[in-house]
Symmetry: C2
Subunit: 480 residues, 2 copies
């Protein structure tokens, strides 16, 4: 039995022993090794044979086994790769600030993820315990997804579909491994490299990253606290011949905008008029506070809206499951793309997602979550108004996880962010949310993160940093 993991383990341990031993050192006897590793003599012999095969030891019959190798440490030279890889045609951005890991004891306002206390931990634990006993554990699901989970996503959209509009069928749903993969699939299948894609500016940085990955040509459309400018959208379609618009109509990240029914109607007229797709990212579906999300997809049965809803943020980062709803040939292309990309989504994760959202406790959790988000948002807004009056919220969001706020133009932006960080308050510059040049000094404050009790203090830190670094600029100006 040569492919034995015990033998491999012994071999690794002996390699380390050899690396530190003097040249020609004698290895412990087979008997000693058997005792030391609790393995059979056959296994030990196998480990020694493998080391001999690698030239690390040599066995002198009747005498023993001796270390042979002298490993010379060298610095690696990968220079040849520069030519092989060529110019980075499409070099991807660095790790965005929103993904940067930080220690537990800081107030992390930069992250895009909800804190653990906002997640349904008990439901997830129970769902995994059930899934482990389920057939899905060792099985391979269908590529389009677990049919019951497809039905659930379709029913969710059906429940808000007005009369006269045909709701989506379960077969219109494709289950995908998280929303990032969904954005890539939608951009690649519906737009494609080199073709134009309209996007709000500012918009979700993950979508900007996905656009860079696919190589679409991003056309920014100005967007504010009420959503995108419908006239600018119309002009952008007309000027570029684009056939797709990516947007977050409900509690957009970072602005928090919720499209009014009137704006939705205007935008859908433009979409229909240009024979185009709206790629709707309903990322905050479960994060309503003083309003409910308004999925635009519920108002379309002509295949114009391709709808993406992820459960990773609502259930657990471990449950990478999302649903993509599309109709007609668009669905066919999306299914082919996601199949080539990931083949299928883990059956266990699909079973867990379905279990969690169909428990009676899910409704209870969402109700509690709404209260928690409201309290957190209000604490942050109050703290900001009280302690950092120069930082102006663009609006008070009716849902989502983020407050989008603007610093005075005269303030030294980078210095404020550095000083906050030195005092344990992590704030991400808003620049990452702009697919084009930022239009001001914005910050996105996530009130879904850890330590909400420290929000007032954090805002005081921010306010003081702004006051300090604003004055300096003024002094400079005066001196000049």
């Amino acid at each position: 039995m040569s492919d034995d993991s015990s033998a491999a383990r012994i071999a690794v341990a002996l390699r380390q022993w050899i690396a530190q031993a003097p040249a020609e050192a004698k290895l412990p006897s087979t008997r000693a090794l058997v005792a030391q590793y609790g393995a059979s003599p056959v296994t030990v012999q196998q480990a020694l044979r493998s080391l001999a095969g690698q030239g690390l030891v040599e066995t002198r019959p009747g005498v023993g086994t001796f270390a042979r190798a002298v490993r010379v440490a060298r610095s690696n030279d990968y220079g040849w790769q520069t030519e092989a890889l060529g110019r980075a045609g499409n070099l991807l951005p660095e790790l965005p600030a929103a993904l940067e890991p930080v220690s537990n004891d800081v107030v992390a306002l930069h992250s895009g993820y909800p804190d653990r206390e906002l997640l349904p931990g008990k439901l997830v634990r129970a769902a995994f315990a059930r899934a482990v006993r389920d057939d899905a554990l060792m099985g391979r699901p269908q590529t389009a997804g677990n049919p019951r989970l497809q039905s659930w996503f379709a029913a969710e959209l059906e429940s808000v579909t007005p009369a006269g509009v045909t709701p989506p069928a379960p077969s219109d749903v494709v289950i995908i491994p998280g929303s990032q993969g969904g954005l890539i699939t939608a951009f690649r299948a519906l737009v494609g490299s080199g073709r134009p894609l309209l996007m709000e500016s500012p918009t979700y940085w993950g979508a900007i990253l996905a656009a860079a990955q696919v190589g679409v040509t991003v056309v920014p459309v100005p967007s504010g606290p009420d959503g995108p400018d419908p006239d600018a959208l119309r002009r952008a379609f007309a000027e570029t011949g684009a056939r797709a618009f990516y947007a977050q109509p409900s509690f957009a990240s970072p602005t928090g905008a919720l499209w009014s029914p009137a704006l939705t109607e205007q935008i859908m007229q433009t979409i229909r008029g240009h024979g185009a797709f709206l790629i709707e990212d309903d990322w905050a579906h479960d994060f309503g506070i003083t309003a409910d999300p308004r999925p635009v997809a519920a108002h379309d049965d002509a295949g114009h809206v391709v709808y993406l809803r992820s459960l990773s943020k609502s259930i657990s980062p471990s449950v990478r499951v999302a649903g993509l709803i599309a109709r007609g040939p668009a669905r066919t292309r999306i299914l082919a793309d996601t199949r080539a990309d990931s083949m299928y989504v883990s059956g266990v994760l699909q079973a867990v997602a379905l279990d969690v959202v169909t428990q009676p406790g899910w409704g209870t959790h969402l109700r509690r979550l709404r209260q928690q988000l409201k309290a957190r948002r209000d604490l942050l807004v109050t703290g900001l108004r009280e302690h950092a009056p120069e930082v102006r919220p663009v609006s008070v969001p009716q849902g989502g996880l983020n407050l989008w706020a603007r610093l005075p133009d005269t303030v030294h932006f980078g210095q404020v962010i550095r000083e906050c960080r030195e005092q344990g308050v992590i704030i991400g510059p808003g620049d990452e949310w702009f697919p084009a040049e930022p239009t001001g000094q914005f910050i996105r404050l996530n009130y879904g993160g850890p330590h909400p009790g420290a929000f007032p203090d954090a805002m005081r830190v921010l306010g003081e940093a702004v006051a300090r670094n604003g004055e300096r600029v003024e002094q400079l100006v005066r001196t000049v």
Copy 2:
């Protein structure tokens, strides 16, 4: 509380009721609905309000609630999408035969996946039970992966690294969600759309699919039971200026080839000489039978070999976890690509994978698996020789899951496959494994599938079909 899932569920049920009810039908009273759905009156009222908002019901105060909508069934017209989507520049292949779901009672020799009885079900169950109690359940792992799992992948390769070669560091490992994503990432990050990629022919269909998805230009290199032709490889590099070669050096799918040390050395000389990458897909690392896998990556510390090893096939299709080992700028590009694609891999799945492979039971499982695969392979080979002597195995594989065999050129191929299927024996045509034209009538028989006891019978079915359809061709020839 308006975003209430109970209310949504009642609304969906009532929509169905309304769809089947006559126009103007009176809905059951609130009290009746409260009793029927076991919900509170507030929840029922909320459901009715949402239906009223959608124009589906109207409430006449003091009288009751009445159905209003008359939904007209229409056929959908998605014709406009044809123009918006444009020409399918890169239309992906249909569902490959190897992924086709079939019923449980057939002998499925076409699938690429091992049967449940070959998977470590008990270890997986126990690992999930532990992971549920773990911190990873609700957390977000680092983008490069769980550091302990990175170390495990590095140590596995280190255990077969010869003296004088620097083994990979844990930080050279990137954890990715399954090997399909790994192929796409490697092809996109190291080659890129429109640039040439050398591939064995025949080779793994998933890699052919990944190449189509990324849009690389595939350059086929002939490969047989001993691996790729080193002279053809050299010419292909010289003629195309390619900088990468994708291959499966250990138990290649479909041929079963295991590269000899001499061939490995020849190929690595070519790779180094052309300043190129070898993208090594060690898919069958845990499926050795009469030989162990020989990772080429263990012989390279200059960053030429980018190594991919998946655990989904060895652990469970639910545990979509793989490790990609690359050094230097190649690793940087790969990490940026996979981050843009999927951000990170489910922490639970990583914890489960690490748990399974570090249990003492894992070694026991691998030993038993080796015996099972040997018995299954031998049963199939014997059955083939005995009952279908006209079907010639290209070789008896020393590992992997597949027997690659050739039918006489005179046999009506499609007819044989159809007749086998009619008798419950599913065989996939070998054509899908060729990135170029097939060089003969090949079939790939997976001996890892269900019902090994029926292998002899299945080979009898195959043999009879071949005999029948070979004769017919001969008769036709004679008549002419």
